[in-house]
């Protein structure tokens, strides 16, 4: 029998060795940024704008852009709170959408050569749709930057024992310095490197955690029975997730997940640097395979933490978010502890840097230059971008305190996705397959869908609607946003005039742009480079993985 213990103090017991490991990491990251400025070909050219990369590199970058520390801490929190059902986020809530992105959507993104999703909206619909999408995107990036900053503050609080608000302010200053010193190029490298470091830090947590609870069979026998199933009792809401199968399949598996993966430009952008259409299509599919296995690194630690700390997630005890830091503190000696801390800190910084650079690009180009004043020379916009960076970090400090109010940051993130991604996905998918859909239908559909999701959320928070759990509320919010967006889009389309076909070539399914030549390479015909074969393989594996946990 394992002794249950209350966990109160999250003070990480880091020593000199751990700080050396941490310092080494940031020396490397900043060193790359410094060297890249001197190189003729900058690393950014190499990484993003070259359109020269094979699918394994872009796939790696795609995977790393998603698997940051929020994802890892948040999914461990879900593992502790909802049990094995958390795998829905991976096997139905990610893999199918990643495969769909690769097979169906990627050719449109890659071949239209857009620099952002708002720009795609302008070309498919109109400037007003671009502006609306750019504004909601900018707001979402600042809110998500706040989550990263909050998480960074939590780790610093654990390391140094400072109060949370001091940690948040200091962390913000560090991130600002890091973006300014290292530049975007080092941020991109940091993003890929943090993934490997965080995995190296998590594997020992999983192994030692399993040893502690008596191995896999020990874990399975000690965790409450109802937390070990994925589909049991999903006919009603009487299961840990509080969602029935319709909510899981349509809310999570279709709207939230397709919305996130297919319109999230931080992800999609990674595939745009691929060398040809086939490599771009393979990018998310290559990333889907590791995604299948990530639950091992997140859900198992969550369940182990649930068994070890009896006050986890209860009032007076630590938040579910703390599951992994608690286990690190429990099991990792100095050395490996340093690796794990480095992985977490690097990951939050990479996440926040990506949010801030996304915000800065969209604010400068899709909002200011496209809609406020487009007559300045390029340098003027570069300066504006720098100011936007400072403004973005300042905004992130504000939203970090909003994030601090949620005991499970993943639920907060899902609520944000239901506002921003679900309606965007509806507009996107209808516009992609229905060439009659008009420019103003894009605008009004997006606006009404976003407002509908807000309305559902406010109704839930003020107890007008009862959805049981926060997560279920996100599923319903996303579903409502999607349906309202779709209805408004159809109604407005019927009342307005469609764009001529010539303007829609390459942007709508079935209207192929004949001016683009086929860019296939000779090796692309092989089965191991076929998006269809590899995509189907990922789907079959995802379905097969469910079998032991029905």
């Amino acid at each position: 029998m394992i002794a249950l213990q209350p966990a109160q103090d999250l003070r990480l017991d880091a020593g000199v060795l751990d700080y050396v490991i941490l310092a080494l990491y940031f020396l490397v990251v900043l060193g790359i940024g410094w060297m890249a400025r001197r190189a003729v070909r900058t690393s950014l050219d190499f990484f993003l704008s070259g359109r020269a990369l094979p699918a394994w590199i872009t796939g790696l970058a795609f995977m790393s852009a998603n698997l940051g520390a929020i994802e890892i801490l948040g999914m461990a929190a879900n593992g502790a709170q909802y049990g094995i059902m958390t795998v829905h986020y991976y096997w139905i809530g990610a893999v199918p959408a990643m495969v769909f992105l690769g097979i169906v959507m990627m050719p449109f993104y890659y071949r239209s050569k857009v620099h952002s999703v708002p720009e795609f909206m302008r070309r498919r619909f109109n400037g007003a749709t671009q502006l609306l999408n750019a504004i909601t995107f900018a707001v979402a990036q600042i809110l998500i930057a706040g989550i990263n900053l909050y998480a960074l503050g939590l780790v610093m609080e654990g390391l140094l024992g400072w109060p949370l608000w001091v940690s948040i302010l200091v962390a913000a200053a560090i991130v600002l310095g890091y973006i300014t010193l290292g530049g975007l190029s080092s941020a991109i490298y940091n993003e890929v490197m943090q993934f490997f470091v965080i995995v190296a830090g998590l594997v020992p947590v999983v192994v030692l955690g399993l040893i502690k609870v008596g191995g896999w069979s020990g874990l399975m026998s000690k965790v409450p029975e109802k937390m070990l199933h994925t589909w049991q009792n999903t006919g009603t809401s009487d299961n840990p997730l509080g969602a029935n199968w319709i909510g899981i399949v349509l809310g999570l598996g279709f709207i939230l997940s397709f919305g996130y993966w297919t319109t999230n430009f931080a992800e999609v952008q990674r595939a745009l640097s691929a060398r040809n259409t086939n490599a771009a299509r393979l990018t998310p599919i290559v990333a889907a395979y590791p995604k299948l296995f990530i639950p091992i690194l997140t859900i198992i630690p969550g369940l182990v933490a649930l068994l070890l700390f009896d006050n986890l997630g209860k009032s007076g005890g630590p938040d579910y978010n703390d599951a992994i830091p608690l286990l690190m503190n429990q099991f990792l000696p100095n050395g490996v502890l340093g690796i794990a801390i480095t992985g977490l800190l690097a990951s939050f910084m990479a996440g926040m840097a990506a949010n801030i650079s996304g915000f800065n690009t969209v604010f400068t180009y899709d909002i200011w230059r496209a809609h406020i004043n487009g007559d300045h020379p390029d340098e003027w916009y570069v300066r504006l971008g720098r100011l936007a960076t400072i403004g973005g970090v300042a905004g992130g400090i504000g939203t970090a305190f909003i994030a601090a109010g949620f005991s499970n940051i993943m639920n907060y993130l899902q609520a944000l996705f239901s506002f921003f991604n679900a309606p965007l996905f509806a507009t996107f998918i209808i516009g992609l397959f229905w060439k009659r859909m008009t420019a103003w239908a894009g605008f009004w559909g997006l606006l009404s869908g976003t407002l509908a999701a807000f309305a559902v959320y406010i109704g839930y928070k003020s107890d007008v609607f009862g959805f049981g759990t926060d997560l279920n509320a996100s599923f319903v919010g996303a579903g409502t946003a999607f349906v309202v967006d779709a209805i408004v889009s159809v109604v407005v389309t019927l009342a307005t005039t469609p764009k001529p076909e010539s303007e829609l070539r390459g942007l709508v399914y079935g209207l192929t742009d004949t001016t683009i030549r086929d860019d296939a390479l000779a090796g692309d015909a092989a089965w191991y480079r076929s998006p269809l074969v590899l995509g189907a393989g990922a789907l079959v594996l995802a379905a097969a993985f469910y079998i032991p946990f029905l």
Binding site: L17, V20, I21, L24, Y25, V28, I32, M35, A36, A39, R41, S43, D45, F46, G50, R51, A52, L53, P54, A55, W56, I57, G59, L60, Y189, V192, M193, F196, V197, A200, V203, P204, V207, L208, I211, K212, R275, A279, L282, V286, Q330, F331, L332, P333, N334, G335, V336, I339, L521, A522, G523, A525, A526, Y528, R529
Partner: protein
Amino acid sequence: MHNLFDIRRIIGALFVVYGIILTITGFVDDKAAIQKALGVRINLWVGIGMLILGVGFLIWERLRPVTLEFQEEVDTSTFGPPPSGHDETPSSRDTE
């Protein structure tokens, strides 16, 4: 031409250095450190693992470099399927 900024070279080097640090730490760990990790010399095992992964990345980068020139490439199919699952790695070698 080898690219100094190849991500494999950077991750490889970082992991080799971390691997060496952890392996040495693993050998000299005191009882308290080993007890904390439930009797496992975890620094040693993770150190060896990181060392192997780091060396693997460096070898991979040596054997199949990615250069910016390969855009003008070349029929990769003449090389046949690569041996070890890194299917997408292009080769900068000349076809002739």
